[in-house]
């Protein structure tokens, strides 16, 4: 019976969308994180009925199912760690409909996040969650990982916009959750349970998202600090002043140096920290608010501030922020991106701890991120081929998580647990927490076929960033 499931699948799915060539299998063996895991087949689904049939077969034959969007997950979300089948949803893009009067959009799972926002903008609306991978990632992937971006500070993350779902359960049944209303208190909130479940509770086949009216204007400012603690103070003072910026992004000195080496934007390289702030709203109000923010950050010790006069200047500053990721990748080939998150007041302390970790393990580490909501991105640059270095990095990552948890924070603000952070889960949620999560998983997925090997660590599982 061992091979029969593939034949069964070919009876319900067009053979051109059941991939079994070696070159195809290897092409679905990775994502943007670590490791190579070769599936036994890749199935490209395009309709709910197809998913229902395939999942039923998988459940019957007890074959693992690995849902996959564009495989940009940074935590190993789509990796087929136990073989079986990869369920690729990227070709499934047929529905993308904005219901203007309801401020709602309905989309197929494979639609790219950026396309959703573009469709909304055509109606004068916008879809706030803005992961930097939005032009590549699928909406289903965003939901499964509960992705967020700089705008999370003011507007929240993906889960705050999902109001309805169609899901195929691990037993192959179709379930609808939520609806098209903003308010809904009917029973447990299954919609929010699915969001962030990393594909372990079922396959998302349709999403209904809430939209907002697009803000009329934005203003951008850069504030430069000689002391990173002052930058931290500037963040909390601004946030308690009654003004809520749409974005507040932090870059440390190492980031600024890397960016300037990579492509000069005019960032100061001698300052300990830089904060980029964006306000959005009505143009008249913005003028006043940006002045107030300017006074606040200078008041806590900013060396100087730069106010973008034109949209072009603003775009240039945000481009410099976007360049951090590639610029630091130019330092060394392997990049380990973490997204440990701490309460806002603990940002300066977290940064000091990170610097200690950097020195202790002699690693190249930079810090940037969505400082406004405490979601930092410590990134370690290393070389995968250097086994000894990678071992030091593994230990450093463990210590970063430890620091975040000790400061009352969390392992992951937006990238998810996947395989990479599974070994650290218990440290954060505790034994009982794991037990309750497992109970939920077991009752949804009795045969453990849906994305097995994720979130829950396997006995003895450790963080491994090395091949083999």
């Amino acid at each position: 019976m061992s091979r029969n499931w593939q034949e069964a699948v070919k009876e319900v799915i067009d053979e051109s969308r059941v991939l079994t060539d070696i070159s195809d299998l290897y092409s679905y063996s990775f994502d943007a994180s670590f490791g190579t895991f070769v599936p036994e087949a890749v199935i490209q689904v395009k309709a709910r009925e197809e998913v229902v049939s395939v999942v039923k077969i998988a459940n019957e034959y007890k074959v693992p199912v690995y849902p996959r969007g564009q495989a940009t997950s940074l935590s190993g979300g789509s990796l087929p760690v136990h073989g079986g089948m990869v369920l690729d949803v990227t070709l499934w893009t047929d529905t993308l409909e904005v219901y203007h009067d309801d401020l709602v959009v309905v989309a197929s799972p494979g639609v790219l996040t950026a396309d959703i926002n573009q469709a909304a903008e055509e109606h004068g609306l916008f879809y706030p969650p803005d992961p930097s991978s939005a032009h590549v990632s699928t909406i289903a992937g965003n939901l499964a990982e509960n992705s967020g971006g700089p705008r999370g500070l003011k507007y929240g993350v993906t889960k705050d916009y999902v109001i309805g779902l169609e899901v195929v359960t691990p037993e192959g049944k179709v379930m609808n959750t939520g609806g098209r209303t903003i308010k809904n208190v009917t029973g447990y909130d299954l919609t929010k349970l699915i969001v962030g479940s990393e594909g372990t509770l079922g396959i998302i086949t349709k999403v209904t998202l809430k939209l907002l009216p697009k803000p009329q204007a934005t203003k951008t400012m850069m504030a430069v600090f000689d002391d990173i603690a002052e930058a931290g103070a500037a963040i909390s003072q601004t946030l308690t002043s009654g003004i809520l910026p749409s974005k507040m992004e932090l870059m440390d000195q190492n980031c600024a140096i890397s960016v300037e080496n990579f492509q000069p934007f005019g960032l100061p390289t001698d300052a300990e920290a830089i904060i980029l702030i964006e306000l959005d709203g009505h143009p008249d109000v913005l003028e006043k608010e940006i002045q107030s923010v300017d006074e606040i950050v200078r008041g806590v010790g900013a060396r100087y501030t730069v106010l973008a006069e034109t949209n072009k200047e603003a775009a240039n500053l945000w481009k410099a922020r976007k360049m951090v990721s590639p610029a630091i990748a130019a330092v060394k080939p392997t990049k380990v991106s973490e997204d440990a998150t701490v309460p806002r007041s603990k940002i300066p302390e977290m940064i000091h701890r990170l610097n200690d970790i950097k020195e202790k393990y002699e690693i190249e580490l930079v810090v940037f991120g969505h400082a406004g909501d405490g979601n930092l991105h410590p990134n370690i640059m290393c070389d995968k081929r250097d086994q000894e270095e990678m071992m030091r990095v593994e230990e450093a990552v463990g210590e970063i998580f430890q620091a975040a948890i000790e400061l009352g924070g969390t392992l992951s603000g937006e990238h998810g647990i996947g395989t990479l952070k599974a070994p650290f889960m218990e440290d954060e949620v505790g034994e009982l927490g794991i037990e309750m999560l497992k109970k939920i998983k077991d009752s949804w997925d009795p045969n453990n076929i849906m994305n097995p090997g994720k979130i829950f660590a396997e006995p003895g599982q450790k963080l491994v960033l090395r091949d083999e």
Partner: protein, 445 residues
């Protein structure tokens, strides 16, 4: 999990590992698998799987070098890559995909037995069509077999039609008229401007350009002269070798490059000017061919520094004015090699802006390849037509009268797309240079 026989794996890995350097294994580590290149890749869009994406291809090259997959497994994904390099432009970590691709092609060329069809086709293309002297003679007396009498006749001689139809008839229908032998002989190999000499340049004629597009070459030289350049057309120059390199024939590519370097370094010019995006992209990468020959690498470097696309030189000399109103809706299909390899982006737009009377409608996605890609459209006809179809969708929205291109392959491909649409009487593709001449380009006094 996959179960591949152990001994097979072992043998394969030894052999593949031997190729690590040649296949640029080290460069595959620059890819962080972020997927940012996926939306830019034409074949990912048309072939609908990761296997035909840049990230997928780079991973397969790595897997090959690690002995996990065989040359046969690597073959199709590599052969179906357009080489348009849209992925390198978008890649945030500057992965040198072009070199990984070329490395893979070189290794596959060595490792794989050729099918009969492929052998015959390649023989025609590389030994008859693009080598230097013999080929130049051939077209010198205008018996260009690709034209009217047609490659088909040659193909019959080689008994090719029975092996593969090659769809050459499709391309024949969109070739421009050939110039007469007299016109060819009249061309002077050294021309000076009427007024002050603003620059001394050598013109790279290219093989396809100088045969099928002889007129465009003539117009190019005229425009340079009108702009105030002294122009030399070195006689000993030869094919740039791009197609050889892109097909893994590195030895041949090096020979052709050496001959061009020798020829052009004798002329003592400011610039070496070309008008074919694909050739130019290869010319400015000549130094990559000589990683293992330092002396040649240095000479190649000197050559490369002088290479310019004609649009760059015309913008820099700024010596033209235009006397005819064009009064048409035009659009521009940039050559991928010009955009992504030469990084020449602005100059053609700047020239187009100067034309009186044009309405310029930008394509929605100008940087999406047209599917011509060297000889890709001959070797992978169906796949190429799928890519062309996406391009034509975009063109149809814009409704231009003229589609401006800067590369002979793109020009033919766009004309083919127009013909397939039955739009020949309402739309045509034109080389930028020819359009400038149609607009009455003259030297400015």
């Amino acid at each position: 999990m996959l179960n591949l026989g152990k001994s097979w794996c072992y043998e394969m890995s030894n052999n593949n590992i031997r190729h690590r350097e040649k296949i640029n294994y080290d460069k595959t580590f620059d890819c962080v698998q972020c997927g940012y290149c996926l939306p830019a890749c034409p074949t990912y869009q048309t072939m609908e799987k990761e296997t035909h994406s840049p990230r997928g291809r780079i991973n397969l090259v790595k897997m090959y070098a690690e002995g996990k997959i065989s040359a046969e497994d690597l073959q199709e994904p590599i052969e179906k890559c357009l080489g348009c390099q849209a992925c390198t432009t978008i890649c945030p970590t500057n992965v040198e995909y072009g070199r990984i691709l070329e490395g893979a092609k070189t290794v596959l060329e060595e490792e794989l037995p050729k099918t009969k069809k492929q052998n015959v086709v390649e023989n025609v293309i590389f030994n008859k069509l693009f080598p230097s002297a013999k080929w130049m003679d051939w077209i010198g007396d205008a018996s260009w077999f690709y034209q009217s009498s047609g490659m088909q006749i040659l193909a019959q001689k080689l008994n090719l039609t029975s092996v593969a139809p090659l769809n050459l008839d499709q391309f024949e229908q969109v070739l421009p008229d050939l110039p007469s032998p007299v016109e060819r002989r009249k061309r002077e190999n050294h021309q000076k401007p009427a007024g002050v000499v603003k620059a001394k340049v050598a013109f790279f004629t290219g093989c396809i350009m100088d045969s099928i597009f002889f007129k465009t070459n003539k117009n190019s030289v005229d425009l340079l002269v009108e702009s105030g350049a002294e122009v030399i057309l070195p006689k000993a120059q030869t094919c740039c070798g791009a197609l050889h390199a892109h097909s893994g024939k590195i030895g041949d590519a090096k020979e052709l490059a050496k001959r061009n370097i020798e020829t052009f370094e004798q002329e003592g010019v400011d610039y070496i000017v070309n008008n074919a995006g694909g050739c130019g992209a290869h010319l400015i990468e000549y130094h990559h061919l000589f990683d293992d020959e330092p002396e040649w690498q240095e000479r190649a470097q000197a050559f490369v520094e002088k290479v310019r696309d004609i649009s760059q030189v015309l913008v820099e000399l700024d010596g033209l004015q235009f006397t005819n109103e064009v009064n048409e809706v035009i659009t521009y299909q940039p050559s991928c090699h010009m955009t992504n390899v030469q990084k020449v982006i602005d100059p053609p737009y700047r020239l187009l802006k100067k034309l009186p009377g044009v309405t310029f409608n930008e394509l929605e996605d100008p940087n999406f390849c047209c599917g011509s890609a060297g000889i890709y459209n001959i070797l992978n006809y169906e796949d190429s037509m799928d890519v062309l179809e996406v391009k034509m969708d975009d063109v149809r929205q814009v409704k231009p009268k003229l589609v401006v291109t800067t590369n002979p392959g793109c020009l033919l491909q766009m004309n083919l797309g127009i013909k397939k649409d039955g739009m020949e009487d309402r739309m045509r593709a034109v080389h930028l240079v020819d359009l400038l001449v149609e607009a009455g380009a003259q030297g400015r006094l």
